[in-house]
């Protein structure tokens, strides 16, 4: 079932639209930096990553990930997860899958797995596009860390991949919420929009100081902790919290999805 899901995605235009959007970001970053190299002086408000990309192709995949994460990632997660079951219900294919038969539990897990796999591929795609164009235009050099030390090209590449992996783990809770919503409705777009709104609301709530008490429990709270991979020594605290929160959301919402879906009348 999981393989069927990936094959279907492979033949779908929207997969390529997502890939174009995700792959385009690091390319745009490279082009923008090439055309107008930011000067180190007088650009205090520019993101620190952007300031240094001019000197190193390795910053392109990293900046790509950082730019994708706050908006494009919840969007893609909402699209893939929200549409997972509701889209099949809306198209009527859900009933034909279930009478094949595909067990309801298996269907939900395969949908969750496929959404995560596609998001993982998209993040790798961002890293790949960024590394390729960054490397072609600027070449690779050792990467300065946020603590002032430097990482060799190989070490830095590994950490960038680790960052992509952490970002994927970070979004897993949102994907579980999306799949859960998706099992409760027969409207694909409805579930997509609901999931995207929840993801982005969480990010906004995370920025509001008066909501500080709930911040550690928001599914997106630990997202930026991947930058800790580029400190020396690596500070694992933030990432550990992020992974725990994501795992908790995943466990709760996937369980809810499985329970709700296994008892639901499929009338679509």
């Amino acid at each position: 079932m999981f393989r069927v899901e990936l094959t279907k995605a492979w033949r779908r235009w929207r997969t390529y639209l997502l890939a174009a959007a995700f792959g385009g970001i690091p390319v745009l970053i490279v082009i923008a930096v090439k055309l107008s190299p930011p000067t180190l002086s007088g650009t205090e408000d520019a993101p620190p990553f952007l300031l240094q990309i001019v000197r190193n192709g390795l910053f392109a995949p990293l900046t790509g990930l950082a730019v994708i994460q706050p908006f494009f990632l919840p969007l893609a997660a909402g699209l893939l997860a929200g549409d997972a079951v509701a889209g099949e219900a809306q198209g009527g294919t859900l009933r034909y899958l279930l009478v094949r038969p595909v067990a309801r539990t298996r269907l939900v897990l395969a949908k969750y797995g496929a959404a995560m796999a596609l998001l993982g591929l998209l993040l790798l795609w961002v890293v790949g596009c960024g590394a390729f164009w960054g490397g072609v235009v600027f070449g690779f050099k050792p990467l300065p860390t946020l603590s002032g030390t430097t990482l060799s090209v190989a070490q830095a590449s590994l950490r960038i991949l680790a960052a992509a992996g952490y970002i994927l783990l970070g979004v897993s809770g949102i994907v579980a919420i999306g799949v859960c919503i998706s099992t409760l409705t027969d409207s694909g777009p409805g579930a997509i929009v609901a999931t995207v709104i929840l993801g982005i609301s969480s990010e906004i709530a995370d920025q509001i100081p008066s909501l500080r008490v709930i911040h550690p429990y928001l599914p997106t709270h630990g997202w930026l902790a991947f930058t800790d991979l580029f400190r020396f020594p690596v500070d694992w605290g933030g990432m550990r919290g992020g992974v725990l929160v994501s795992a908790a959301y995943t466990a709760v919402f996937l369980t809810m999805a499985l329970v709700a879906f296994s008892r639901r009348d499929v009338v679509a």
């Binding site: 279907k8 235009w13 198209g91 009527g92 294919t93 009933r95 094949r100 595909v102 008892r263 009348d265």
Partner: protein, 309 residues
Amino acid sequence: MTALVARGLTKRYGEVNVVDGLDLSVDRGELYGFLGPNGAGKTTTIRMALGLIFPSGGDVELLGRPVFRSGRDDALRRTGALIEEPAFYRFLSGRRNLEAFARAGGDGEEVRRRLDRIDEVLEQVGLSTAGDKRVKAYSQGMRQRLGIALALLGEPDMLVLDEPTNGLDPAGMREVRLLLRRLADGGTTVFVSSHLLAEVEAMCDRVGVLSRGRLVAEGPPGNLRGDAEHLRIEVGDPERAAAILRDLAGVAGVGGDGRILRVRLDGATAAQVNAALVAAGVAVSALVPERDTLEDVFMSLVEGSGVQG
């Protein structure tokens, strides 16, 4: 051996019993017509039989397996279904759709067997040449055919088809009827719902009539209709004609109004009726044999059950 059994099957939505204590039994190898007007509960029954919606009461067995206990997957695996209308991934071709469904569920051996059958089922429903077109570009009739192809994909022992001739032209309907007849003759149980009486009459071994969630009649289509035939007679002197006919052997009843009589025959032939009238000097200007249509039977059954609810 029974292929489908429902015992007191009930589905309640709010205060309404959409399916209301339905008892039903379909034998293996039978072509069973499930007849009823829209809203009678046909689709709800079919969805419960396939485990898609949960009954509020009673139970249902498919190929000897209770649908709402473990073991139903084995029954579903041997069942092909068309539920309400066909549904496909619009961005895939007909063939790729069948591939996607063939790969979903079951072990490797089963998947391979289903994949091997794709050409055969496309051929069976007359879609061999259109298999590589995207479903988006299919006509309603083509989608319907592909839906039947999907139902046939797993070489099922049991077919559950909800209005399979929907959207087909008369030639297509005939093809589907012949195909289903052929499958049933080959040992497949076919359970087909319809609101078209003529269709069910033309192909089914047995018909069950559903109205407001209950089975109001069941039997071979010929039996439902009854053996009695009618004559419609136009005469110059209806009162005298009626008196003569009431005394005639083989006439079960005489009714009618004005110059037109409706005579129910029970053994007498039209020729005998005509001869009797002419011999008595009654002028017969028209004599038309009329069969009770299944529609008459159907309407009387459905109206008869309309009291409750």
